[in-house]
């Protein structure tokens, strides 16, 4: 950031590497994305607006962004704990647990979706116990607070409903939080906590004043990655979401639906909205991260 343009670098090759970077980004990222915008430009503004604001599409934005955000938040908390345990403690099987974390990266997401659906469906291993509990819980909530449409918000069952979307998105996002936090935690020496203790800090103070500020930037990065990944996820979700219109359809599914009707422009129109919205959100998260770094580092 503070490097001035006139600075002499020890190693040569700035021009070459920048050129390479631009060409690489152009081929892999910018040109495909630009194609989406160009394809959309065939639509008149009114058609574009109609395509991206139809009720089904609006309902899908709410679901996609809402559940992705929630899944990323949950991952930030539990992924954080997981990373902490993996770095700070040694226990039998730690290496295996560590390797398991990467599984969502490697597994084809369709396989993940099918596996999750099999396990959480009403006759699945976990679903046969948890599904009735979930349904009863939602019914109970509706009894207590009848003016909120609980089944509409939370879904009346686990698999093939909104909780299924949440499960799938949490699954694919988990490794991002763990893997961004781990190296930071490894750098964070336990001596720091001991020093804090000798200086009279209690456990809570050590946690909030010493450890947390160090972790915050990495945690936000992990959160942003998990969130972005969840927004774009398609393969696993469609197998477990139930895909009910106006209720459990994610935006990527609607894009596929449009393509299925040979409506290429409509599909790219929705894609463009998602792109812009994701870009703005990620930018905001980046700003937040920058701010947190400054705020905590004083």
């Amino acid at each position: 950031m503070t490097l001035s343009g006139k600075r002499r670098y020890v190693l040569p090759g700035f021009g070459l590497s920048l050129g390479f970077t631009l060409a690489y980004l152009g081929l892999i990222v910018l040109i495909p994305l630009a194609a989406a915008f160009i394809k959309t430009s065939g639509l008149s503004l009114a058609d574009f607006w109609a395509a991206v604001t139809s009720p089904r599409v609006m309902a899908s934005y709410k679901l996609s962004f809402g559940v992705s955000l929630f899944a990323a938040l949950v991952n930030a908390v539990f992924g954080g704990i997981l990373a902490w345990v993996l770095v700070r403690y040694t226990f039998p099987g730690r290496r295996i647990v560590d390797a398991l974390v990467d599984l969502p990266f490697a597994l084809p997401t369709a396989v993940a979706g099918i596996a999750l659906a099999a396990i959480y469906s009403p006759n699945g291993w976990v679903g046969q116990w948890l599904d009735p509990i979930w349904a009863a819980g939602v019914a109970q909530l509706s009894g207590w607070i009848p003016w909120v449409d609980w089944p509409g918000w939370l879904g009346g069952k686990l698999a093939f409903d909104r909780p299924g979307v949440f499960l799938a998105l949490t699954f694919v996002g988990l490794p991002f939080v763990v893997r961004t936090l781990q190296p930071v935690l490894q750098e964070l020496e336990p001596e720091l906590e001991e020093a804090a203790a000798t200086l009279g800090a209690n456990r809570w103070q050590t946690m909030t004043r010493v450890i947390f500020p160090e972790l915050m930037p990495a945690l936000i990065t992990g959160f942003a990655l998990a969130f972005a990944r969840a927004l774009g996820e398609y393969g696993s979700v469609v197998f477990i979401a139930g895909n009910m219109p106006m209720h459990s359809e994610i935006t990527p599914l609607l894009i596929i639906t449009k393509l299925e009707q040979y409506d290429y422009r409509g599909a790219t129109a929705i894609a463009v909205v998602m792109l812009v919205a994701s870009f703005v959100l990620l930018l905001l998260i980046n700003l937040l991260q920058k701010w947190s770094r400054r705020y905590y580092r004083v």
Partner: protein, 331 residues
């Protein structure tokens, strides 16, 4: 050096294999449930072609949702022939990409549909919910599994069959719409394709009845045991005509026009019809159909052309954005 030698060796083996293999290769782009049918048919056709011309032919198959497959061809997958779930998807290959002529459907007998199928109801053994016909599907407490008509060709047949049943029974399109709305209220999961729905019903154990292709229902019985499911034949259903076409622009470029045409023609021969029938597709040839009396129950069948005015019109009214399928979910 060693690695280089190995690579060179592999390359040499690969190229000799290519050279000794025949020069003719066809790609048949088809939809999901035809996998077993075309494995058998391709073998028969290759033998027939060899006997007739002395040339070998290798046929590659590609399967997936019908609409997705049509899109792949439009986007440049070089299919010599397409054998898709509905004429509407083949139409798109003309509409969007002009790879085939407008009147493709007239080039082969029977609307270019060498075999047909229909939509039946697959229920669990013993038929615990006493499902006999379409109107049992709207009863409260009956859970129905069907894919999403927006993404699945098979589901469009389901939807239109239910619609026409209700229209005839209740007397108007408005009432038919209410009927279909009530039916979809009973659908807990909308999978994106027919195979997905079969999995949901058969393996996840969800739902009381699956709206399925007749051939898919028979396949489920064959694979999972006739003691687990029963086929219920409704009083009225739709005549599904999966259509086939040569992709003109592709065969012209590849020089495979002759063999591609022969491939599709072979579907209409006794041998081809018999293979279709063995795989639970209704053959066009009545003599062949008569050989499999247990497979094809008699029921009243209507065609989409006669009742809905063809795919283009039906798609526009029912499945396009803002069509009846969108409406039943939005109010």
């Amino acid at each position: 050096m060693l690695i280089k030698n190995i690579l060179l060796g592999a390359l040499a083996i690969g190229s000799t294999a290519l050279a000794s293999a025949t020069s003719v290769e066809l790609l048949n782009v088809s939809y999901d449930p035809t996998r077993e049918l075309y494995v058998e048919f391709n073998k028969a056709f290759a033998a027939h072609w060899k006997a007739k011309t002395g040339d070998g032919v290798i046929i590659k198959q590609s399967h997936g949702g019908s609409g997705k497959q049509a899109r792949a061809v439009i986007d440049g997958l070089s299919a010599d022939v397409v054998t898709l779930a509905l004429a509407g998807d083949v139409d798109a290959i003309y509409d969007v990409a002009r790879l085939i002529p407008k009147d493709w459907q007239k080039r082969l007998p029977d609307n270019s549909a060498p075999y047909t199928s229909t939509i039946v109801l697959l229920v669990r053994a013993g038929n615990p919910k006493h499902i006999k016909d379409w109107d049992d599907l709207v009863k409260p407490g009956v859970s129905v599994i069907t894919p999403n008509p927006k993404t699945s060709g098979g589901a469009r047949w389901n939807y239109l069959a239910a619609w026409e049943f209700a229209r005839r029974k209740l007397g108007s399109d408005d009432k038919a719409k209410d009927f279909v709305k009530a039916l979809f209220k009973n659908v807990p999961v909308l999978d994106s394709g027919a195979r997905g729905s079969t999995t949901t019903f058969v393996q996840r154990g969800i739902g009381d009845v699956l709206l399925a292709w007749e051939n898919e229902a028979f396949l489920a019985l064959k694979e999972f045991g006739a003691d687990k499911f029963e086929i219920v034949v409704p009083s009225l259903s739709i005549l599904a005509e999966p259509s086939v076409s040569v992709v003109d622009k592709v065969v012209k470029k590849k020089g495979t026009a002759e063999v591609a045409k022969a491939y599709l023609d072979y579907l209409y021969t006794d041998e081809g019809q018999d293979i279709a029938a063995r795989n639970f597709y209704r053959p066009r040839n009545p003599a062949i159909a008569a050989k499999y009396p247990g497979n094809f129950a008699k029921l009243e069948l209507f065609t989409i052309d006669a009742v809905f005015g063809g795919w283009a019109k039906a798609t526009k009214i029912h499945f396009a954005d803002g069509g009846t399928f969108d409406q039943i979910y939005q109010n």
